[in-house]
C-alpha cells in the first residue's frame, strides 16, 4: 500500500509526499533507484520504447501492482490512486518535444492526480525544472552519473566539458576537490531543491522560462504544453500568489494570459455605454491608482467605458483591473511593441469591439498600443477617434480627450458585476447592492448583509451564501451526504462544474449542507483524486433534515 499526498500544486508540478511501507519521501526528490524501488533491481529484458504501439505494449509492458507501476502512453492507464508510476525511457522523450507533450497528455489525463511520477535516467540540473513542470516528482542520479563518466560538467545552464570545472563556475565541495561526480549529483539535488522553492511560491513557470533558454527542445516543450488545447490549462490555477513575469515571448501563450483575454471577450459584460475609451497601461497596478490614470479619469469624468490596452493581456476593462493577472503582471517597458504583441492585442480588441458595438471608440493611445488598437479597429470595421497629440498625458491630449467626451452620458463602472461576469460567466444584478470600503478593499452589502467581497490578492469575488443566491448556476461542487467539518476532501466530491480551476470560488452543495469556499484543485482532479483537499471551506451551513 502506497500513499501520495499532494500538498501544493503549481500547474502540473507538485510538492507532495510518497509513502511506501514505513518510508516517506518528500517530492520532488532525487532517489537511489534500487533503494526505493526494489522491484527494478531485478528488471531484465523488459524494454518497451515510448513509441511502441498498443499491441506490443499490452504484450510486453510489465503488469501488476509493482512499485513503481510501469506506464506507457499506449498502454492500459487505469490505475488506483496513491501509486508511484514510472514512465520507462522518459529520458528519450526530451529530444522529441511534440511527442513529449502528446505522450504526457495521454498519460496525465488518464491517471489519478494523486500519483507520484518517476522519470528514470532523465534528470539533469538543466532539465529538472521542466521535468518537474511537466508533472514528474521522482528522479534518479543515472543521467548525472552518466555525464560524470563522460567527463561532462553539469550546470543548470547546460552541459559543459570537464575543463569548465576548473574555471571557477562552481564552488561546491565536489568542485573544490575536483570530484566531478560529486559536483554533478550535488547540482541536481540543488536544482530540485530550487524547483521545490519555486513550486511553493507557485512560480515554477518563471524558473522554467528562464532555464529553458539554453535548450531549443525545452522551449519547444514549453510552447507545445501551452498550445495543447485544454490539457495544460486545466492544471493552471485561476490566480497565483505574486507577480506574473511577462518577460518572454512565451508569455503570450501562457494559460493565465490566454484565459484572461479569452474571458474578456467571451464572458465579460461591459457596462451600458455609448463610448469606449482605449487607454494606455501604467506601471503601477491597479492602474487607477497610478498618476497617469488619475489624470485620464479626471479628463474622462465617467463619460465612457474605460478599456486599458496592454501587452500581454490585450485588453483590460476598468472593472477587471484588480483581477489576476491584470494587477499582477510585470512587463519590461520600452515602448516598443513587437509584431506578435500587436497582432495578439489587435486580435483581442477586434473581437471585443465586434461583440460590443459602441457608438464611438476613442483611442487615447500612442506608439505600439495605438498601432495595435488601429489594427483591431480596422478588423472590426470600427472607426477610431484619436485624442492623443504627442504624449497621452500632455495638456493638449488630456484637453482633447475631455472635449471629445463633452455631452456624453455617465457610465457606471460596476466592479462586482464586471468581475462576476468574468469569473462566473454571469453578470449579476447589483441594483440593490451597496458597495462599501476604500478601493480596492471593497465589499458589497444589501442592508447590513454582506454579499460579496473582493479578494485584494487575486481581485476575485468572494460570495457569501447570500451572494451565491445571485449566481444561480455554475461553480458548484456537489458532495455526498455529510456535513463538512473543515475542508472538503476529494473522495467526498460527487460532481463538480468542469470549469472550476484551482483558486476558484465555489459553492459546495450536498443533501446535508452547503458551504462556501475556494477550490484547491481543478474539477477534473476533484473527481479523480483519491486524497487531498478539494475545497478549502470558509463557511458551512447545515441544511434542515427533510
Amino acid at each position: 500500500m502506497t500513499i501520495v499526498e499532494v500538498r501544493k500544486r503549481d500547474g502540473l508540478a507538485r510538492i507532495a509526499t510518497f509513502q511506501a511501507d514505513e518510508k516517506t519521501i518528500h517530492l520532488p526528490a532525487v532517489i537511489e533507484t534500487g533503494e526505493l524501488f526494489h522491484s527494478l533491481s531485478h528488471s531484465r529484458m523488459e524494454n518497451v520504447p515510448l513509441g511502441a504501439g498498443p499491441a506490443f505494449v499490452a504484450q510486453y509492458l510489465p503488469k501488476g501492482h509493482l512499485i513503481p507501476a510501469w506506464i506507457h502512453p499506449s498502454g492500459d492507464l487505469t490505475l488506483p490512486p496513491g501509486m508511484a508510476v514510472m514512465v520507462p525511457c522518459w529520458h528519450t522523450a526530451l529530444a522529441h518535444p511534440r511527442k513529449y507533450v502528446e505522450w504526457l497528455a495521454a498519460m496525465k489525463t488518464a491517471l489519478p492526480p494523486d500519483t507520484a511520477w518517476y522519470a528514470p535516467a532523465a534528470a539533469l540540473p538543466s532539465n529538472a525544472a521542466i521535468l518537474s513542470y511537466s508533472g514528474f516528482d521522482i528522479f534518479d542520479f543515472t543521467a548525472v552519473d552518466l555525464r560524470s563518466s563522460q567527463g561532462i560538467f553539469c550546470l543548470p545552464e547546460g552541459e559543459f566539458p570537464r575543463g569548465t570545472m576548473e574555471g571557477g563556475a562552481c564552488d561546491c565541495p565536489g568542485c573544490r576537490v575536483g570530484d566531478l561526480k560529486a559536483h554533478n549529483r550535488d547540482r541536481l539535488i540543488r536544482e530540485i531543491a530550487l524547483a521545490r522553492q519555486f513550486i511553493a511560491a507557485q512560480r515554477l513557470r518563471d524558473l522554467v522560462e528562464s532555464r529553458c533558454r539554453m535548450d531549443a527542445a525545452q522551449v519547444a516543450i514549453l510552447r507545445n504544453l501551452d498550445r495543447t488545447c485544454g490539457f495544460f490549462e486545466k492544471a493552471v490555477p485561476v490566480a497565483r500568489q505574486g507577480t506574473l513575469l511577462a518577460t518572454t515571448g512565451e508569455v503570450l501563450q501562457r494559460p493565465e494570459v490566454t484565459r484572461f483575454s479569452e474571458r474578456v471577450v467571451s464572458r465579460y459584460r461591459p457596462p451600458a455605454a455609448d463610448v469606449a475609451v482605449l487607454l494606455p497601461c501604467s506601471a503601477r497596478k491597479p492602474y487607477s491608482l497610478s498618476q497617469s490614470h488619475r489624470k485620464f479619469r479626471q479628463a474622462i469624468a465617467g463619460r465612457a467605458s474605460e478599456l486599458i490596452v496592454t501587452s500581454p493581456l490585450g485588453l483590460v476593462p476598468r472593472e477587471l483591473e484588480l483581477v489576476y493577472p491584470a494587477a499582477h503582471y510585470n512587463v519590461p517597458v520600452t515602448g516598443y511593441w513587437d509584431a506578435e504583441e500587436r497582432e495578439f492585442t489587435g486580435g483581442i480588441i477586434a473581437a471585443f469591439l465586434e461583440k460590443h458595438r459602441f457608438k464611438r471608440v476613442i483611442a487615447h493611445l500612442e506608439g505600439g498600443a495605438l498601432a495595435a488598437a488601429e489594427k483591431g479597429a480596422a478588423l472590426a470595421g470600427v472607426e477610431l477617434e484619436i485624442t492623443c497629440r504627442g504624449r497621452p498625458l500632455s495638456q493638449e491630449s488630456l484637453a482633447l480627450l475631455d472635449s471629445a467626451l463633452s455631452g456624453e452620458r455617465k457610465v457606471r463602472h460596476d466592479v462586482i458585476r464586471g468581475t462576476s461576469s468574468w469569473q462566473f460567466g454571469l453578470a449579476i444584478d447589483t441594483r440593490n447592492l451597496v458597495v462599501k470600503g476604500r478601493y480596492p478593499w471593497i465589499r458589497a452589502f444589501r442592508g447590513r448583509t454582506p454579499f460579496f467581497s473582493i479578494d485584494e490578492a487575486t481581485g476575485l469575488l468572494r460570495p457569501t451564501f447570500e451572494g451565491w443566491n445571485l449566481i444561480p448556476e455554475g461553480y458548484r461542487v456537489t458532495i455526498d451526504e455529510f456535513v463538512p467539518t473543515g475542508d472538503v476532501l476529494a473522495p467526498g466530491v460527487v460532481d463538480a462544474d468542469p470549469r472550476i480551476r484551482e483558486g476558484d470560488e465555489v459553492l459546495v452543495t450536498g443533501p446535508c449542507a452547503i458551504a462556501t469556499g475556494r477550490a484547491a484543485m481543478p474539477a477534473c482532479e476533484m473527481l479523480r483524486s483519491g486524497r487531498g483537499v478539494a475545497v478549502r471551506v470558509r463557511k458551512v451551513k447545515t441544511l434542515p433534515r427533510t
Binding site: L40, M45, E46, N47, P49, C89, A122, L146
Partner: protein, 329 residues
C-alpha cells in the same frame, strides 16, 4: 527506398577473401534479387524490401538466369574457392527462387564451397541433396554450408526483439537435416537487436555462442545496423535504439571460445556499431582483420586501446536497464 536497379544484375556481387572452416580463401559474394523473403517481418531487416514484385514464376526464373549470366560475364569463376550466396531471403524456398534457377546456379558453382542463406523451414533433405549433387565434384569434404540467421539461441529475444518467426528447435532440426544431407551449417548471430540493453546484448551473444557449439560449424557475428525503412529505424529515430558499442563487439569476440567471423557493416557510423567517433576507425579495421586472421592477440591489443569513451561504455554496461535505455546515442 532503394533505387530501382536493373533487373538482370544481382543486387550486389564482389570478390573478397573469407575465412571458411579455418582457411582463408578467395570468395565471391553474390546478393541475388529474388521473389523476396516469404517471412518478410523482421524488425531490423530492409533486405526484405528488395524483391521482384508481381512476377510470374517463369518471369522470376528468367530474371534469375539473367543475373547468373551477368555473373559469368563479369567474374572469372575459376578464381574463387568459395561462393557466398544471399537472396535477402531463402535460397531453398522454391517460391522465392524457382528450382530450375537454383539448379542452374548450382551447376555454375560446381567444385566450389557454397555458403547459401536460408530460413530453416526450407532446409529439406531433397532440396539439399539435389543441390549438393550438382555442386560436388569431390574437391571439398563439405561442399555446401547452409547459412541460417538464427540470430540468438534465446527464443524470447528472437520473437520479441526480431520477430523472426522460428524457434531454436526449428533451427536445430534444420541443422540435423542439413547434416543428414551432407551439408554443413553456418549460423548468423545478431548482436544487439531492438529492446536489449548493452549488457543484455552481450550476454545474449555469449550464451548463444555457447549454445551453438556442436551445432554450427561456423558462426558469423553481425553487429546490428540501422537499415532504412525498418521498424528498427523508426525506434532509432525516436532515440529508443542505439547500435552496439564496438567495445561490446570486441568483448563478444574475445569471450567466445570459438572464432567468429565478423564484418561490422556501418562500423563507426551512427547507424552502425560505433563508439565515440575517436577510436572507431582502428577498431573497425581491427575487427575485420581478426575476422580473417583469427589472431587472438590482436583482439587483446584492440581491447587495450585507451579511449575516453571506455568509461562511458563501462557505465552503460553497469547502469543501463530496460526502463532507461539507451543511455547514450
Amino acid at each position: 527506398m532503394f533505387p530501382e536497379r536493373e533487373s538482370d544484375r544481382p543486387l550486389a556481387a564482389w570478390a573478397g577473401r573469407d575465412r571458411i572452416e579455418g582457411q582463408v580463401m578467395s570468395a565471391l559474394t553474390i546478393i541475388l534479387k529474388t521473389g523476396g523473403c516469404a517471412h518478410d517481418r523482421c524488425r531490423m531487416c530492409s533486405y526484405r524490401h528488395e524483391r521482384y514484385n508481381r512476377l510470374t514464376h517463369g518471369e522470376l526464373e528468367a530474371g534469375l538466369r539473367a543475373q547468373l549470366a551477368w555473373i559469368e560475364n563479369n567474374f572469372t569463376l575459376e578464381d574463387f574457392d568459395a561462393v557466398k550466396i544471399y537472396t535477402s531471403g531463402s535460397l531453398f524456398d522454391p517460391l522465392e527462387v524457382p528450382v530450375q534457377a537454383r539448379d542452374a546456379l548450382a551447376k555454375m558453382m560446381r567444385g566450389k564451397i557454397v555458403i547459401a542463406e536460408t530460413r530453416p523451414e526450407y532446409v529439406t533433405v531433397d532440396h539439399l541433396n539435389q543441390f549438393v549433387t550438382l555442386i560436388d565434384n569431390g574437391t571439398h569434404e563439405t561442399p555446401l554450408f547452409v547459412a541460417i540467421g538464427v540470430e540468438t539461441s534465446n527464443d524470447t529475444i528472437r520473437e520479441k526483439c526480431i520477430d523472426k518467426g522460428f524457434s531454436w528447435d526449428d533451427f536445430v532440426k534444420a541443422t540435423e537435416i542439413a547434416r543428414s544431407a551432407g551439408a554443413g551449417v553456418k549460423a548468423y548471430l545478431l548482436a544487439k537487436p531492438l529492446f536489449l540493453t548493452e549488457r543484455e546484448a552481450i550476454d545474449d551473444m555469449i550464451s548463444s555462442i555457447r549454445d551453438l557449439s556442436g551445432t554450427a560449424d561456423m558462426i558469423s557475428l553481425n553487429p546490428c545496423t540501422v537499415q532504412r525503412n525498418t521498424e528498427l529505424e523508426y525506434y532509432w529515430k525516436q532515440g529508443a535504439y542505439r547500435p552496439p558499442y564496438l567495445w561490446s563487439i570486441l568483448t563478444i569476440l574475445s569471450e567466445s571460445p570459438v572464432h567468429l567471423t565478423c564484418d561490422p557493416l556501418g562500423g563507426g557510423q551512427e547507424r552502425g556499431p560505433h563508439n565515440c567517433g575517436v577510436c572507431d576507425g582502428p577498431l573497425v579495421k581491427g575487427i575485420r582483420d581478426y575476422s580473417l586472421s583469427a589472431d587472438r592477440e590482436l583482439l587483446s591489443a584492440l581491447l587495450a586501446i585507451p579511449c575516453a569513451c571506455k568509461e562511458e561504455w563501462d557505465f552503460v554496461l553497469r547502469e543501463e536497464r530496460s526502463y532507461c535505455m539507451p543511455l547514450t546515442r
